[in-house]
Symmetry: C2
Subunit: 248 residues, 2 copies
């Protein structure tokens, strides 16, 4: 019975699941579902997840989707997972559920909405939407403030006052990492007011190295590509300006 993870490392919840498995030495087979090629809509993948979304897993005959549900399943189904990832303690576990639920309607809406409407939309045949991006940015900034002032309150370095990371830290930090794709000045404008968030992201990366960086290699490559495109567009604009001026 081999665990199969159907994922695209461009997807933030896919990366969270992969990092969790690597960090916990859970053996798995990774099956790439290329979102840019719309492989998530193929009949074969929809047999695994009829919603056409990654990540999804199969563990023998058992199929599961929704990344939070997957992380909880993995933390419970495989032996030897350290308790801090998904604490057995009723109260600690309840707080993990609370932050994961909060993630859905807050940070995820903000971060995914901002990145999609700022830069990813054209890859899906849609125009970028500055208006939708601005609305998502409000949700994102508000969510980051709440992480800073509430979820990272307490003596621990991780969410809900923990001294070691849980599945919630992994899930939320991977979400914020998606901002690597946008223009660096926009990313820093959004993130830099939140010093505790930045430190917590570093702590989560460090706690899961080298798997965290490995799982993000593809994202960093795309970041470089977008950065080059932006520089090229900037150069063209400058040169067009010079030509325009020389004509005057």
């Amino acid at each position: 019975m081999t665990l199969k993870i159907y994922a695209d490392r461009m997807s933030q919840p896919s990366r969270a699941v992969i990092i969790f498995c690597k960090a916990n030495r859970i053996h798995f087979e990774e099956i790439k579902i290329d979102l840019a090629r719309r492989q998530q809509m193929s009949p074969e993948f929809r047999e695994i997840n009829p919603m056409g979304k990654v990540p999804a897993i199969t563990d023998g005959k058992f199929k599961l989707f929704e990344s939070h549900a997957i992380l909880i399943y993995l933390a419970c189904a495989f032996p030897g997972i350290a308790d801090h990832w998904y604490p057995a303690d009723l109260f600690k576990r309840a707080k993990i559920h609370s932050v994961l639920d909060w993630h859905h309607s807050n940070l995820r809406q903000g971060a995914a909405g901002y990145v999609f409407n700022s830069i990813l939309a054209p890859a899906f045949g849609l125009p970028v939407s500055p208006k939708a991006a601005a609305e998502a940015e409000k949700v994102l900034s508000s969510s980051l403030s709440i992480i800073e002032s509430f979820w990272l309150k307490g003596s621990g370095r991780f969410l809900v006052g923990s001294t070691q990371p849980s599945i919630a830290d992994l899930s939320l930090v991977c979400e914020i990492m998606q901002l690597e794709l946008v223009d660096e000045k926009d990313r820093m404008r959004i993130l830099s007011p939140h010093k505790k968030v930045l430190q917590w992201m570093e702590d989560t990366k460090n706690a899961t190295r080298p798997h965290f960086e490995d799982a993000h290699t593809l994202l960093f490559k795309l970041k470089d590509r977008f950065q080059k495109q932006r520089s090229l567009a900037e150069d063209l604009k400058t040169n067009a300006g010079k030509i325009g001026n020389s004509k005057l």
Copy 2:
């Protein structure tokens, strides 16, 4: 140590938590947080839930918000809760988590968005938005189709093929009940194509009677008030038409 539930029965997740406790004979004190009076933003309530949302609970010194997290906590913390509400079986439990996670980004977005933009917005000082309502209706109808064809697949009468209700059934059915507030012809236009959904709602009500109906009394009262307002507006329109005609 008394369980306190901070709730407004106009809120669908508040009702789910109240019904769960009543159906499972969990003793609690209900503290009304009146959303129409914006009591959720009071400093006192924000000590309980800094997000300013209902429901929230306190169990002794322990505070918790997010209704799914609350339902899971209650199912685990109190003795004698029948297993079907939140199965101990790893695979069954994972499916419950999956449907609860799916709820956040699908049915909730659709149903809450549709009801708010169709009828509730004025109560919060905002205009109704037919465009936003139409967009939310698409998400809602798609979500109902997925419940019909996927989550209610299998031999059981409840979600993920269960023969008895879980916290997910309660949570999702309470969400759909919010449609009681909109015009009956709109409600039926949206719901009637989904026969299995309608039957499942009845089954969930029956499995939790009389608590389900009790918890919805306030919603039904508001439904009546909205219906009367609509009839009055219709009458005024007809009479204005008659006066207009008699003047010609």
